[in-house]
């Protein structure tokens, strides 16, 4: 449950932020560092389960998705990954790193127009992360990074489905500003730790590692009591 600390021996670290905030770069650097320090780490990414891939693709191609179904499909993806990719490694005492978590839904789906209370209720079953990092960056910086990296903005990332503007860059600006507003609201509500994502990558990574180290201070990497689990089955 999102409202209380999770009961598992593992640790859950998540990163949040708009596209182009650099969160994925930071998470992959953290991942490599954890491995080098001898931690067993596991990485999972938003919207990556095969379960809803077909529906998602179909919905996006034919423009069938509404804010509600867009939100629910992501929730299905999340629930499925939670079952297979998040809870088992947490129970096994691993460090789970998630590129985007429920806060993405809270920010993005609400910016699309779904009710904030509804989307929070939908995700009530999610375990609360031990550390949730929010990479805060102004729209212009993220746009700059995205446009130099890959020339074209993605349809939904730019919020083109909302009809805010026919120009993808302008639509991105309008939509992602709403997302930023929602993220800012979440900082206090959900205890997100803000990382200033304008600065250089190395400085940010040192800060990220320092925060991760704090979380891992009381961590022993013990596997859940497997003997107890076994006796439960018999």
């Amino acid at each position: 449950m999102l409202s209380e600390p999770h009961p598992y021996p593992g640790k859950l670290i998540v990163v949040e932020g708009i596209d182009g905030s650099g969160k994925s770069t930071q998470l992959s650097l953290l991942y490599r560092w954890l491995l080098s320090r001898g931690y067993k780490a596991f990485f999972t990414e938003w919207n990556s389960s095969i379960l809803v891939r077909r529906s998602m693709r179909r919905g996006k191609r034919k423009d069938l998705l509404t804010p509600t179904t867009f939100s629910l499909l992501h929730a299905v993806d999340f629930a499925d990954r939670l079952t297979y990719k998040i809870i088992p490694p947490l129970k096994a005492g691993m460090v789970v790193l998630a590129d985007r978590y429920v806060y993405t839904a809270f920010a993005r789906d609400v910016a699309r127009g779904v009710h904030p209370d509804w989307v929070r209720a939908v995700y009530r079953f999610a375990p609360r992360p031990d550390l949730a990092l929010y990479f805060r960056v102004p729209i212009e910086v993220s746009l700059d990074r995205l446009l130099t990296g890959r020339a074209k903005l993605k349809y939904h990332e730019a919020g083109m489905d909302l009809g805010l503007s026919r120009d993808p860059t302008e639509s991105f600006r309008l939509f992602q500003s709403r997302v930023l507003d929602e993220y800012d609201r979440l900082v206090g509500e959900c205890s997100l730790r803000v990382v200033d994502a304008i600065g250089d990558i190395h400085t940010q990574q040192l800060l990220v590692r320092r925060m991760a180290r704090q979380v891992l201070r009381d961590y022993h990497g013990t596997v859940a009591d497997l003997a107890a689990v076994g006796s439960d089955v018999v």
């Binding site: 077909r54 179909r58 998705l65 509404t66 629910l72 929730a75 499925d80 509804w118």
Partner: protein, 249 residues
Amino acid sequence: MHGEDKPFYGHGLPALKVGPLRGSLIVIEGTDGVGRSTQIDQLIAWLELQGYAVTNTGWTRSTLLAQTINDAKAGHALTVTTFSLLYAADFADRLENNVIPALRAGFIVIADRYMYTAFARNAAMGADRQWTRDLFGCALIPDLVLYLKIDMDHLVPRVLEGKGMDYWESGMHLALGSDIFDSFVRYQTRLIREYNRLAREFNFTTVDARKPIDQIQADLRRHISAYLDRSKLAAAASDAKAPPTALRR
């Protein structure tokens, strides 16, 4: 009702301009194998003969998710949570893309199962009741819910004479036992208990589904006729109260 905004169960669909819905949403609920689809086919033919435009919608029939749900059932172990979310996505897709547009156009929409099916199944599977209900906060409250109520003594022969006991409807995924008959009885007993509870809570119009098929049909028609008469009266009353169109702006 007529020409007015229909109420939602929870937070509704803030992103969608729903507007006045002139049609009627009639839901047929009841457990697996009770004979819903047979009854619905006959109801549609009957309503169309009377001059009503009718469309129907059914659980897991959405363009967006039907295939995914089938695939998931075929080869992917899902938890109650994941299943519920899939069903909710299917429901929302049909609601926004089929049901609401049809209601706006003044159709009678007959829904083969509605959110109550999710409420009953999830409760039978031991999921968080409140969570399931919050999930369906986007649902429109139907104008009429007709509940085909049956007991196990009548359900078992009807299912066996029909398409037989299937894996899901027998609750085999819950591992209630390795025998499909025993599992069916246990699971459906739980489900029926949940449906009966929901019938009281949400004031379903209950139809005795232990009767022969044509008698059930006659009862359903009687309830629908009564509803349509009531809504016509209400519409006439609200038209009489409303100022002439020219003045309304």
